[in-house]
Amino acid sequence: MLAWLRACATRIAAAFHPRSRDQHEFDRELSSHLDFLTRENLEKGMSPEAAARAARIRLGGVAQLKETNRELHGLPFLETLLQDARYAVRTLLKKPGFAAISILTLALGIGANTAIFSVVYAVVLKPLPYPDSQRLFTIFQQRTQDSSVQGGFSYLDLQDVIAQDTDFSGMTGVSGHELTLTGRGDPFIVRVADVTA
């Protein structure tokens, strides 16, 4: 596990260095290897050209080997990502009209989404500014005949419910309405609520 982490760290570090040094070194390794193979073939009695050719075959495709070596160093995923990004920018700069429309569409989409989410968050998702707000409930009455919801809760009904042994730690009746505040300055309307004790 530690070794794997070490390998990752090495590759990440390598991703930020110019890889030409590693590649040059690998090129030297490959030619050194080919050298050995060629000598082995020469000792077997092959002609220099045959020896060199056989050596290359025995080693395997040099281009493929270099590619594999390149991929093992650094982070090929990151590099291809950067390459694609650069290509995308170049292409967009060549077609400014298309780029403008795309960007506008994206901006509209993102903007609309953000607006809707902000509203939904404020109205529905945001927790109420009370401690343990998930424990707050609104109680309402529902007709069993047609499941329609009653608009209000009468005070007498509330007393009945409170008298029952429910799981709620407490129940309060709330009745909201508007009043006009007068006195200093212009009168204005305030929202008030009557609550039971």
Binding site: R28, E29, S32, F36, R39, G60, G61, V62, N69
Partner: protein, 114 residues
Amino acid sequence: MADERPEILQGTLDLMVLKTLAAIGPQHGYGIARRIEQISADALQINQGTIYASLVRLTQRGWISGEWGTSDNHRKAKFYSITRSGRKRLNAETLNWNRIAGVIGRVLRLEERG
């Protein structure tokens, strides 16, 4: 190309490279490949170049380290040697390998009898 090979084969070659270096001491890529070929009685005539993927992986994990040097016949080559953590890894993997081979062997023997 290294990604196309099944994981087990990749790990096996790494193990063989590690073992070779532990057995014969510091060696370059050609020497390691040649040695593996010899020991396997040339049954493993792999493209010798595949060994370099192994060498890179083992180096990145700190199990071997490489250094440029001169060979017997005065050629420049990069020599690899096993590290201490490499030896530990080799021991662990050898135990593991023998254990797995034993289990598979038992399973295969079972099938033949039935």
